[in-house]
């Protein structure tokens, strides 16, 4: 009796569709990538607002969960002229190298008297240094106000965004608000995450 044995093939699967899909996804992710920055870690609260945060011409004041305040401006040339402005008004001078390094910081949280020392630390160590935050107090004339002033002088068209952490205490926000109001800034954006609006809600 001849037993008909099925001819053995090595298991063979056509993976072309999978690979196609994989590369499609890869292309998508490469195109849409906006990289996480090494800013202060801030978990923002969420809101139903649908207005997107503008990408350019923006200064961001961040408040982290311990209440430390950070400041950042988006464009590198603006950062340099902002530093020039503040150096001029405070009577400090920065070297070109320091300016260059400053322009690479997307945000910083140093009192003015410690900034120079920070900019002179070697590149590799910069990320490890704990930033103490920019001094802010309730008088409305603290260093944050100086920075905001310097930034607006560098680029008058800058929009102001506030990015606070969920756990930041309200008094810190109040102080930041005081600093802005002392310069007659009464309109700004609060950066929030997005959340779904409750059922039946329509934005008008």
């Amino acid at each position: 009796m001849a037993i008909v044995k099925p001819k053995k093939h090595p298991p063979h699967m056509d993976m072309t569709p999978m690979v196609d899909l994989a590369f499609l996804l890869l292309t998508f992710f490469i195109m849409t990538a906006t990289f996480k920055t090494n800013d202060a870690e801030v978990t923002t609260p969420s809101s139903v607002s649908t207005i997107k945060v503008p990408d350019d011409k923006i200064m961001i004041i961040s408040i982290d969960k311990t209440g430390k305040v950070f400041f950042g401006v988006d464009a590198q040339p603006t950062r340099i002229s902002m530093l020039d402005n503040i150096a001029q008004s405070k009577g400090i001078s920065f070297t070109d190298l320091e300016k260059k390094k400053f322009s690479l910081q997307s945000s910083f949280g140093f009192p003015l008297n410690q900034l120079k020392a920070y900019l002179n630390t070697p590149d590799g160590e910069m990320a490890q240094i704990k930033q103490p935050g920019i001094p802010v107090d309730s008088t409305g004339t603290s260093e944050l106000a100086d920075w905001v002033y310097a930034a607006r002088k560098a680029d008058p068209g800058l929009r102001i965004a506030l990015k606070g952490d969920n756990l930041a205490k309200f008094p810190v926000f109040k102080d930041v608000l005081g600093n802005l109001q002392s310069q007659n800034i009464n309109r700004f954006n609060l950066i929030t995450g997005s959340e779904a609006a409750p059922a039946g809600f329509k934005m008008d």
Partner: protein, 188 residues
């Protein structure tokens, strides 16, 4: 891998001499490996949800506005943001009212707070005529205390947007009678 098995060269007996077919199979494994590696990298490195922003307008501090008259307590819902995400509220009662003590209630964020706002605004808007700009009479006064967080404030502002309360005020200091009323609830 996606190998295309060439079964060419099986023609027999036609007597023609054919050039040997080259094997066109390319091992794609390394390329695919790299592809997936990159996918993983980009997926982890991207921030997908772009943050949104809510606009906040605060009144000008320098500008003196003399024509505002004091708000009538009966048209006001006052929300005090306390610690641990608690919200205390006075609905239509002033803090120095003798009834304030018993009418101070506690609520939580989310649908609870929303129904409090809706209830109060419906009641007040029904009882009072609209103002000259066509807005209801309902006013919400938000008082974040020192123990509240930034999230609490944003959440309340968000509730204002959701309940479409057009008239609200963010007031950051408590009056003496409010301090007395809230007592230990707002102590850090």
């Amino acid at each position: 891998m996606s190998a295309i098995v060439e079964t060419g060269g099986s023609g027999k007996g036609d007597g023609k001499v054919r050039g040997k077919k080259l094997n066109t199979n390319v091992d794609m494994t390394p390329m695919v490996d790299l592809g997936f590696l990159l996918i993983t990298f980009f997926m982890l490195a991207t921030t997908m949800s772009k943050p949104t922003s809510m606009t906040l307008n605060v009144p000008d501090k320098t500008e003196k506005n003399d024509e505002t008259e004091p708000l009538k307590a009966s048209k006001v819902l006052t929300l005090f943001l306390g610690k641990n995400d608690d919200v205390y509220y006075l609905d239509g009662v002033a803090a120095d009212d003798p009834k304030a003590e018993e009418s101070l209630k506690t609520t939580r964020f989310g649908s609870e707070l929303r129904s409090v706002i809706f209830e109060s605004s419906n009641r007040i808007n029904a009882a009072n005529a609209k103002d000259e700009k066509g807005y209801g009479a309902f006013v919400c006064v938000i008082k974040p205390t020192v123990v509240s967080t930034y999230k609490n404030m944003v959440d309340v502002l968000d509730e204002m947007a959701i309940t479409k309360s057009k008239k609200y005020a963010l007031v950051d200091n408590l009056t003496d009678s409010e301090k007395k009323l809230l007592g230990d609830k707002v102590k850090p």
